[in-house]
């Protein structure tokens, strides 16, 4: 019988060894060994009481009105006798060490690692979700470990990595994110978030105080797409994106191109124009390839030409940093200086091939390249 601490230490050692050997992701969480299936309940924040023991969740625009003994849409926050609880605080069901490029965050410490964690649950249900087995599950449906914030930070430090909240939807475990990011900042460890952005401004602003970078999945650019494909709404996502941009926390956007669903020329062009107008030309925008998953296994992967065309539209609309993704080797993975047009960050897939940025400036012409480079 090994202790939990010993277990994590042994996992950590193995993970480091693999990471040093060039592995792109290390699964740290076993399916069984020390896994739990009965979640603990921790007091939730960002909610209010309603009459007759009901509560209203304030984390996201759904504002679920949750009756006693029930949960909201995300399935991870529960009303118990008129009090609201998180069933995922400190209980990640996935832990990996990833390259930061996998998030993708291309303008944030290239070539570094992200100690990535996720809990069960999501406040959307995207038909093409790549991580549906955890995002569309309740805490009881997955194996998880109890891992308080200090433990997460310690492991991130062991890996010389930032902490990244990702895979499922960090907004549904926002209290855990905030507490972990707070502990990380105290320890000199950076924190990042990968989110669908369907959140409320107040809790998001609370989290942004302790985050260093956020990547938002801008899944489509019509309300119809969000309603039909994600059980969500577009406008709250746009609002969140603007809140993040105004906060000064580094922001990147990803648009997963689902063939025939959100990749039309007008939709892409409208989106690019919105990004430039509301966020500025320097916010990176990634067009990534869809892979058949979850409820869309009958749809073919995105053709490369679509990604290239989307990137061209973005560049034509005046965005400075437009990328293709999920297709290693396809043109559009490098960062080009918007002034001299030379490759200042060369990549292939998640691998960093070359870095020509010095003190945040293009090594060739001295132009400032927006991002966090050191």
């Amino acid at each position: 019988m090994i202790s939990r601490r010993d277990f994590f230490i042994s996992c950590g050692g193995a993970g480091c060894a693999l990471a040093a050997g060039g592995a792109t992701g290390v699964l740290l969480l076993p399916r069984s060994a020390l896994a739990n299936t009965t979640p603990r309940a921790f007091p939730a924040r960002f909610w209010k009481k309603l009459p007759q023991k009901a509560v209203e969740c304030g984390l996201c625009p759904k504002h679920c009105k949750v009756e006693d003994r029930e949960r909201g849409f995300c399935g991870v926050r529960e009303n118990r006798d008129g009090e609201y609880f998180s069933l995922v605080w400190g209980q990640p069901c996935a832990m990996h060490v990833d390259p930061i490029e996998k998030k993708p965050l291309f303008h944030f410490l290239p070539g570094t690692r992200a100690f990535s964690i996720a809990t069960a649950g999501c406040n959307l249900e995207c038909k093409c979700c790549q991580n549906w087995d955890i995002s569309q599950s309740k805490p009881e449906d997955v194996d998880f470990q109890f891992m308080p914030p200090d433990e997460v930070v310690r492991m991130a430090k062991d890996y010389d990595a930032c902490v990244t909240f990702t895979y499922s939807e960090p907004i549904v475990f926002l209290e855990y994110c905030i507490d972990t990011a707070t502990a990380a900042r105290k320890a000199g460890v950076r924190s990042t978030m990968v989110t669908g952005g369907s959140g409320e401004a107040l809790p998001m602003k609370e989290a942004l105080k302790f985050l260093d970078a956020v990547k938002v999945d801008l899944k489509g650019f019509t309300e119809d797409y969000y309603r039909r494909m994600c059980k969500g709404k577009l406008q709250p996502v746009l609002d969140t994106i603007e809140v993040i941009r105004k906060s000064g926390v580094w922001l990147e956007l990803v648009h997963l191109c689902v063939p025939g669903q959100n990749d039309s020329e007008p939709e892409i062009r409208t989106m690019c124009r919105w990004v430039k107008q509301h966020l500025g030309a320097d916010v990176p925008l990634h067009f990534t390839r869809f892979h058949p998953e979850y409820q869309m296994k009958n749809v073919a992967p995105t053709p490369n030409e679509t990604l290239v065309r989307c990137r061209e539209i973005g560049m034509a609309e005046g965005l400075h940093f437009v990328y293709t993704g999920n297709v290693p080797g396809l043109a559009g993975e490098d960062t080009f200086c918007p002034h001299c047009n030379k490759s200042v960050v060369a990549r292939r897939g998640f691998e960093l091939l070359g870095l020509h940025i010095k003190n945040g400036h293009c090594e060739y012409c001295g132009t400032a390249i927006p991002g966090i480079w050191s």
């Binding site: 299936t37 007759q52 023991k53 009901a54 009105k65 009756e67 006693d68 003994r69 029930e70 949960r71 909201g72 849409f73 995300c74 399935g75 249900e125 549906w132 569309q136 599950s137 309740k138 009881e140 449906d141 059980k231 979850y294 409820q295």
Partner: protein
């Protein structure tokens, strides 16, 4: 099993009782009862007896017993037994309860009681009903070890008063949280789900035992919505008044094909602010509804619910944007009859 196959086919086609042939009083026994116009539905019979089915119409039998509730919530087992006897005979047209149950469940069948336990003891499927049914099934030859009461969480079952009776030769209780869900997804047009392993691995037939309740997100909850307890992600399906999600879940073959019989617990429906229990929101109706058509029984249940709400000056559900539109969707999917005019309702007072 042949009779089960036959029943399933008939259920799928939304037909009930084509083979019923025993004598009865039919609509000639109809008539209003004083002070009960809000819940009077159709044909009324005054004693336990078989009634000839109207061709092509699914039958819903509403059995009432004024003495069934004791201490406000608890049910009297003897009264429940009498109601079940009357309901099953009237529904099936068979001569007695055992023969009636045998129409739906054969001796080698593993039966799952799909209860609704989320609101706890005050607004859950009555334990007394399950106990009575379990004893009756034993007489059909289905031993207690082949019977299981299930719902989403074990804690909901225990909070609703259910206990494991297997040591005494009775039924087990299992929550989906303990039994788990299948790894593979079932795809539906609007969503996808993993099915409860209780449903897929532990039972051959479901005896659907919903509680009639108003539901603040779905409009109402009854037999169709009770099957949300057979999937892992009902939380994802409570938008848009649960439409079309309730209907699509019930169209999943693994769920649809195991539905044999519905007995809706309407002894004390929750008429407002459901589905949780709210003090003062339970309205005594003293009724159990029997059917094999889930859509039809919900349609009749809705009528009862609206009647009880009227008594409290509560508005019709449609007026507060809570019309359970999934009933119509379920009808369109061929899961049963949602047109009230197309349903035969038999009322029995015991």
């Amino acid at each position: 099993m042949a009779s089960d196959e036959h029943d399933r086919r008939r259920f799928l086609h939304g037909l009930v009782g084509a083979a019923l042939a025993t004598a009865g009083c039919g609509s000639s026994c109809g008539g209003a009862r004083a002070g009960r116009d809000d819940v009077r539905l159709s044909t009324v019979v005054t004693k336990t007896e078989a009634v000839r089915a109207k061709p092509g119409k699914p039958r819903v039998v509403v059995v009432r017993n004024k003495k069934v509730l004791v201490h406000d919530y608890d049910a009297d087992a003897g009264a429940v037994r009498a109601m079940v006897d009357a309901g099953l005979v009237a529904l099936s047209g068979e001569k007695d309860t055992i023969a009636a149950l045998s129409r739906y469940f054969s001796g080698d069948t593993r039966v799952g009681f799909k209860i609704n336990g989320l609101a706890g003891r005050n607004a859950a499927t009555h334990v007394e009903l399950v106990d009575v049914l379990s004893a009756m099934l034993t007489k059909v030859g289905i031993e207690g070890r082949r019977q299981v009461a299930f719902d989403r969480f074990t804690r909901d079952l225990t909070a609703s008063g259910f206990v494991d009776r297997s040591r005494a030769g009775g039924y087990r209780i299992v929550g989906n949280d303990d039994a788990g869900h299948e790894d593979d997804l079932v795809q539906m047009p609007s969503s996808a789900s993993r099915l409860s392993r209780v449903l897929t691995s532990q039972v051959d037939a479901v005896l659907n035992l919903p509680v009639l309740k108003q539901h603040m997100l779905a409009g109402m909850t009854g037999a169709l919505k009770n099957n949300f307890g057979c999937i892992h992600n009902p939380n994802k399906m409570h938008i848009d008044n649960c439409d079309p999600y309730v209907a699509e879940v019930n169209a999943v073959p693994a769920i649809r094909d195991k539905q044999r019989l519905v007995i809706m617990d309407a002894l004390r429906p929750v008429v407002h602010n459901g589905p949780s229990y709210q003090p003062g929101m339970g309205e005594v109706a003293n009724a159990l509804l029997f059917a094999t058509d889930l859509v039809a029984v919900d349609t009749v249940g809705l009528e009862i619910l609206e009647g009880l709400r009227r008594k409290r000056d509560l508005p019709p559900l449609a007026q507060v944007d809570l019309a359970p539109t999934y009933l119509t969707t379920a009808g369109k999917l061929g899961l049963g009859v949602s047109d009230r005019a197309g349903i035969e309702v038999v009322e029995i007072e015991v």
